[in-house]
């Protein structure tokens, strides 16, 4: 078996915690970016409607907040990961393989969070236009952007299940 000089002087397992933390950061970061963009877009539309008709504030506020959930999901995944990898206390001695696994586990929430928040925002902006013209259709207008939420929730589930399962693996 060939062992390189680098292997002799560097312990690769020390990078495990680095990759695990990178996963937690990405989940919070990308989910947060997506939600910030999304809530910003829907906020503009909501402000436009309220400028003309302040009475619609309650309805458009709900629609504005819908793309904000991805940021919360990202925070949740980041928090769980930090807890699992011992950064918030406990043993932070994680192998390189486990570190990469934590990174992989965080990616569904990070990527789906970013993309779904932006697309949910577009659906919400459209629904705000719908409510502006037909306030009695608020229930239906809620459903269209809420459908996008499904995929953020699915990504959240996969990330959570993966993060909790990695600890029991002997790698």
């Amino acid at each position: 078996m060939n062992i390189s000089a680098l292997d002799l002087i560097f312990d690769w397992d020390t990078l495990g915690i680095v990759f695990a933390l990178l996963g937690a950061v990405l989940a919070a970061l990308l989910g947060g970016i997506g939600s910030a963009i999304g809530v910003g877009m829907t906020g503009q539309a909501a402000a436009g409607v309220v400028t003309e008709d302040p009475g619609k504030f309650g309805k458009v506020l709900v629609l504005q907040l819908l793309p904000g959930t991805q940021g919360i999901y990202g925070l949740l995944i980041g928090f769980i990961t930090l807890t699992q990898i011992g950064i918030l206390g406990g043993n932070s001695d994680i192998s390189l393989a486990k570190g990469l696994l934590y990174l992989a586990a965080c990616l569904p929430m990070a990527i789906v969070g970013l993309v779904s928040a932006k697309w949910q925002a577009r659906a919400s902006v459209s629904s705000i236009s719908l409510v502006a013209k037909k306030p009695d259709q608020f229930g239906k207008a809620m459903i269209f952007p809420a459908m996008v939420e499904t995929y953020a929730v699915l990504a959240l589930l996969i990330s959570i299940l993966s993060i909790f399962s990695i600890g029991g693996l002997s790698v």
Partner: protein, 321 residues
């Protein structure tokens, strides 16, 4: 960026609720007199409540529309497709009043991209450099043509063609599919009108070449050649283009053709009702408002002149809402 107009489009969506609907027009049609029509309009919030005449009421509504758009965006450049006709009308007025020495009394329209006073000054001093380049060239050419030939129609032809080319350029440069489509439609339908009128009045090929503005949906050479022969040839040519229906409407009457043109524009902008982004809904709102004001003008004229309802109704266009 399409996201730049989210706030504006949301406000436009709310304002669209105040546009006149078909039942509103029916209510106006049912009014027994011109004065009753005006009262109904004022009850609906038209005018500033102190309008003394119908024209003033309609002018106030037009001004309200542009004031609203100015609130939404600082950059009105994309709307030049709608403003150029005002500018070129003012150039015509400035050129003709300067050349004839007539006093310019209520000949200028408000709301163009260039201040009428600046236009007048440019023509009076024969210094067109203060105007936008395209406009300056056309104004200078029209001014010298009128001075040298005294032919007012030729002067109009130069400015009308420059206006159409300006609209086309503005539409293409806007990057908006709707603005480009609108500019193309306006240019093509205007070319058709020019060709038909020129054919009926037996104008020369040189006149047609000078008047028709080249656009991508019409071959102006073929149109001009057909118009030089006979009207039926124009209809045959149009039937092979996407304006085939125009030929049928022209055979019916000029007013049927005018209605068809306006309905085509309305068909073009109606797609914007489901577009929550881009500048498209803003343009659609302005056109919808202008269409609505024209409808009210037709109804008011009908009431004032005591025309039969059927005559007025056949001139009413499709509405945006």
């Amino acid at each position: 960026m399409s996201e730049d107009y989210i706030y504006a489009v949301a406000r436009v969506r709310s304002r669209e609720l105040t546009l006149l609907s078909r039942p509103d027009l029916d209510q106006l049609m049912a009014c027994k007199s011109f004065e009753e029509c005006l009262r109904v309009l004022q009850d609906k919030g038209w005018g500033h409540g102190v309008s003394v005449s119908a024209e003033q009421l309609l002018a106030e509504e037009e001004e309200k529309t542009w004031a609203f758009i100015r609130e939404l965006t600082d950059d009105l450049t994309p709307f030049d497709v709608l403003l150029y006709p005002i500018d070129y009308n003012n150039i015509k007025a400035a050129v003709k009043t300067v050349v004839t020495g007539a006093a310019p009394h209520q000949v200028f329209l408000k709301g163009g991209t260039v201040d009428p006073d600046l236009l007048q000054k440019a023509v009076r001093e024969n210094d067109f450099s203060v105007l936008p380049e395209d406009m300056a060239q056309a104004a200078e050419s029209a001014y010298h043509t009128l001075l040298q030939t005294g032919d007012g129609q030729l002067c109009d032809v130069i400015l009308d063609k420059a206006c159409l080319l300006g609209i086309l350029r503005c539409g293409r440069e806007s990057g908006s599919e709707l603005l480009a489509g609108y500019a193309e439609l306006i240019t093509a339908t205007t070319d058709i009108k020019i060709a038909v009128r020129a054919c009926k009045t037996k104008k020369s090929r040189a006149f047609l070449d000078a008047a028709l503005a080249p656009c991508s949906t019409l071959d102006v050479d073929s149109l001009a050649a057909a118009a030089c022969r006979e009207l039926e040839e124009v209809f045959v040519y149009l039937s092979a283009t996407e304006y085939a229906e125009a030929a049928n409407r022209l055979k019916e009457s000029n007013s049927a053709f005018e209605k068809w043109c306006d309905d085509r524009v309305m068909g073009l902008i109606k797609e914007q009702k489901s577009n929550p982004f881009t500048i498209g809904p803003l343009l659609a709102y302005i056109i919808a408002r202008q269409n609505e004001i024209n409808m009210v003008r037709i109804i008011l004229s009908g009431k004032l002149n005591e025309l039969p309802d059927s005559v007025v109704r056949e001139r009413l266009r499709e509405l945006y809402v």
